[in-house]
Homo-oligomer: 378 residues x 4
């Protein structure tokens, strides 16, 4: 029986454009869903690059103006993969045009924008989702399941870090297509919005709300050449950010992110310590979950390294056989699958814009705390 | 610019049929090649299942007789994903029909069959390849590169194992579509052809020829119900196999495989010890390579865990960014890419049937040695 | 040639009393020193227990009043292994008596006490040292050596944690001989003085001074039965403490300690990220040092696990052969060896009281910051 | 209450002489035993070195002729730490003199010698023990306990290796005091008696008798300068040895040892796969035991890394607190403790000469099999 089409309009063609396109292409081969994503159009200002991208991924058409894309009747869902500073404007227009919206993270440049975007999609009543993809790494989803089952008991500690090392060289420029994440005007912030936002999203999902934060940030390289102007300009982003917090469940949180941790490429880690059990995870080995269960016999009690590749683990019945790992890109496939299933079920896939706004609130509080050297309520 | 079609006829729709189909679908999105695989037809005796498979993967048509598939003019390449006992007959016919052939491993039930198959494809002059996919795990390809650069110096030791634990239960039946690997008539052997063949293929590629072997095998569960007959029948396969060997370069080899190693799902490991450096790899963390370099300063000398995700590592410029791992399925994508590139270049991608015959020779010697309790020359 | 005696008077017989006694007994077998520790007397209020301890370790005599011990002419050095609230008084008297002093950590209950103690030993001109033993774990000493050689370049980040899980049960009492660490009157603080003090001492040694801190503390179990009174009493210590800081070299620090991290027995970890290299260490595998060197060839660059057991590594020429690890207790042997060598050389072994006072200053700032929810200068 | 003396006469002062002396010195501080070892005399041909050794460890006297040592009435127990070729003669004389005997491993140069030694000690009725110290590493003792409790169920596989890399250089001489292990006349064999003997002893203890073996050996460096003669001489030892075997319980064994595995200092590893659980251990992290329990809930099933430092684990109530590891030397302390307890109980501590003879039988069969390229019964 043939599937119903879900016509996708993609805005942007960068790293995330590739990751999402791959997910749209693959999801139907591995998940049995009512709708099938159709790559209807890709939109970018640079027509030649957009056309190359369309050819590579099989998009049927190209647009160079996102308003033109939104005006098309044959687009059901818009995928916003632009730099952060364009999320708001496009999302508001897409909601007004009645499109479903899948938006890259972070939701917005700040809470005010985010609140506006939430109201827009909720008023329009359109399905909406933000690409916090790490929720759908099977080991992370399994962590959520273990927590929901109550295996950990009362939670005492949550700690997370996202460590990279790719901006240590002072020769690296900022801005432009490749390096907009280093340009505060395009990105809004540095590691806080880019990396910590992931850590915060996962934390809120797994451990509930954050009450207040105390943060510090640092910009190690103060000036960099800007790719667009060719001139040395002040660096406005945070190169590193650390914060402490208290969760509403009484647990303590510590978070840290940097792009100056030599030796770590994309080391997103988290650990949760509960009364009865603990969990730890590491993006560099995303197919494993570490688990400690205090109820084990004492002489054989130890951290278990769970190879999350069995069919009874989240999403893993769709892939290969035990022992054979999947990778980074699969988290996006899972998220598309859940988004589509959500459409069928009439239940939105998380995180919605509203869910993602909570992360934005924490990010804003973190940046404010770092600026004024005070504890800030979220 | 549009690509030339490479029309694929797939025979079989099991686990490997899925893995190969996924590779054909994805390769064009990530590799810039002259030819694009077109999923022209899938062939299986069970028409309904074949049709479901075709629908899922986008095969344009279905055949229920592989001879009919071979007779079609619109098929360029045949992919043999059947149980081992059908490889020979199909391959001989496909060669005669002038088709390119991609054949699942092991090449054949024994050396005699394999030799016949080699002669057939070589007489026909058709591109041919065997799916020893682990050569294209980037960490393994990197190991080959390091060896070719001479970083290890004289090799002293090669050790490999492939450990699983999925047949420990005596309740598990043998035979039939799902469990033909446990049926000696369909599989030819047990872990030797299924698992050790992978270890041997990699070893021959990395460390050269094997001279002689001393082996032992064991069948722990002597009888199992047969899925097709419903009757308890003798188990004819080897549940476990270990062998020692000498390589022509003077190094010593030890190999072991079993499906009775509780705790290991698909733990393919190898380690190579050279005069100057050593290498180790593990399928359960396939995106890492362990490397020890004796020329490091003595106080900071240690095994390095290399996270094989950077753009200057084999195949990794095609995927994501440093720190973000790929998985099992990507090895097949790489192999398709190399096969297609080989067509363009007029140079066959390895391992060819002839390459794979060398592995078959070792497997036969291993099984003979285990039977007669003697050292056997390969 | 016979060695000169160094007559030791030990005050206390608990866990640390054992660790130090073992060190005094062993040091002469493994280190070639001018002085040999002689176990002259042990002092404790409970005479029977003191006598048992003396018999076990070979102390020649027993005292029940530490003032009597200090009055003896045949004691050269006093080792203070009492609860923290007695350090000051004993140290002041010992200095006045002209004894060398080896004092357990933390130095004192607070900075004021510590300052007084420093002045006392400096006025008296007696050799003095505090038992921050982790500096003498060979892997940690090696880290210091690598830093001093400039291998890491500019430092960006320092992070440390000391995680335990032994006080999670609400049934555990506080106070008394076994559990004085949970009694704020005896210990002064909870994890801050007990565990974080170790982390801070190492950090100051490896990475220099700390400028300011922002901290939070928590007491998860608010009341516990007191071992001495048998009554439920308020718990005055911090069960957990986390803080952020800036070092004077411009690097950022994050520190955390708790006794509520299920699964961790005594997991003291630190990591240092520099421009050119990074270092990490873990007390649970104290014989290993992790090292990442960015100058390695890019395709074989990775974290190295250095097994710190070779003869060219700190202290390891004194023990066994490569591959054979030493353990926790050896750090005390090394510290005694360095203390004795310091006497011969007329150069004090670190950390002196003055060195340890710096740690006390950070601890006080941390506790103050947690209390007033402000950044505090050290 | 004072302990009874156990007067020790040590023969030899090399690496093992140090390890044993340390054990005699420490055991009384940590174990509550009826007897206390008294270091009565050390014997070696080189009087000066013997005297230095005696001074260092506190031996009361020195002998230069082991027959003189045996003739002394004030020696209760003789500890044989000589090269292997002297074990037999000394042991026979010691038994005749009615001394208890603690003999370094391997027991003897071959089975014939070993049988003679067993008969001598059994006729004389003297307590006797061989220093296969790894049985007393707490993690290994725990493995034995888990096996005895039946946690693993039917055993399918046993694999062990002992890998080193210290003889790769062709410049290394053979023979003499420091390198007698490379001289076949003093050592009897190479890695087989030195390293594999440890693996075999543990295996027999944990997994029962071995029926038959198929082995291969290699000598990579064929000639070396001899330290005593200064001349280039043929190397008579095995540099590497691997063997396969069948145990009487039906499990398969694989063993390998070498001194040419670049990157491994003293990597003794073993793994046991049972129907219900598996165990693995590694000398480089000797304080950990890996354990996999198939009865765990499937979604949280994984290898556990057990940090063997808790008080309810073998021997660990004698040492420090959870999380604080002990090292290599402690295995000797435990063995002395068990030997002394055995005297009190009238029950010999294992392994006795008779136990160690079983290992010798396997070693002899291994060497014979390697020589004649046949399976050999043990």
């Amino acid at each position: 029986m043939s599937k119903k089409p879900l016509n996708i309009g993609m805005i942007g063609y960068g790293f995330m454009g590739r990751a999402h396109s791959n997910a749209y292409c693959k999801v139907g081969n591995f998940f049995d869903l009512e709708y099938e994503p159709i790559l209807k159009a890709v939109c970018a200002r640079n027509e030649e690059k957009a056309r190359d991208f369309a050819n590579n991924w099989g998009y049927e058409s190209v647009e160079t103006d996102w308003r033109a894309l939104l005006a098309r009747d044959d687009i059901d869902a818009v995928d916003i993969c632009t730099p952060n500073n364009l999320h708001r404007e496009i999302a508001l227009a897409a909601a007004e045009a009645g499109k479903m919206i899948l938006c890259e993270k972070p939701l917005s440049m700040n809470v005010e924008e985010g609140e506006e975007m939430c109201q827009a999609v909720e008023s329009a009543g359109v399905p909406n989702m933000v690409w916090y993809n790490y929720r759908r790494v099977p080991a992370v989803t399994l962590a959520k399941q273990l927590l929901d089952e109550g295996r950990l008991g009362k939670i005492f500690h949550y700690r997370a870090a996202f460590l990279q090392d790719w901006t240590i060289s002072a020769e690296l420029p900022q801005g432009g297509e490749a390096l907009w994440r280093l340009d505060v005007d395009a990105a809004g912030s540095g590691v806080t919005g880019d990396l910590l936002a992931h850590c915060i999203d996962t934390a809120l999902w797994l451990n509930g709300s954050i009450q207040d934060v105390s943060a510090m940030t640092e910009t190690f390289i103060k000036e960099r050449v800007h790719s667009l102007t060719g001139e040395v300009q002040k660096v406005g982003i945070d190169d590193a950010c650390a914060f402490m917090c208290r969760f509403q469940n009484g647990s303590l949180g510590t978070f840290e992110s940097t792009r100056y941790a030599r030796g770590h490429k994309a080391l997103y880690t988290f650990e949760i310590n509960g009364e009865n059990a603990s969990i730890a995870w590491d993006l560099h080995d995303l197919h494993r979950l570490s688990y400690f269960d205090h109820s084990d016999d004492s002489v054989v009690r130890g951290w278990r390294s769970v190879h999350v590749t069995d069919g009874d683990m989240p999403y893993m019945d769709k892939w290969w056989v035990p022992g054979l790992q999947i990778g980074y890109e699969h988290s996006f496939v899972h998220q598309v699958a859940d988004f589509i299933q959500g459409i069928s079920d009439g239940k939105p896939a998380n995180p919605t814009f509203r869910d993602a706004l909570e992360t934005q609130k924490v990010c804003d509080a973190v940046l404010k705390s770092a600026a004024d050297r005070q504890w800030e309520n979220v």
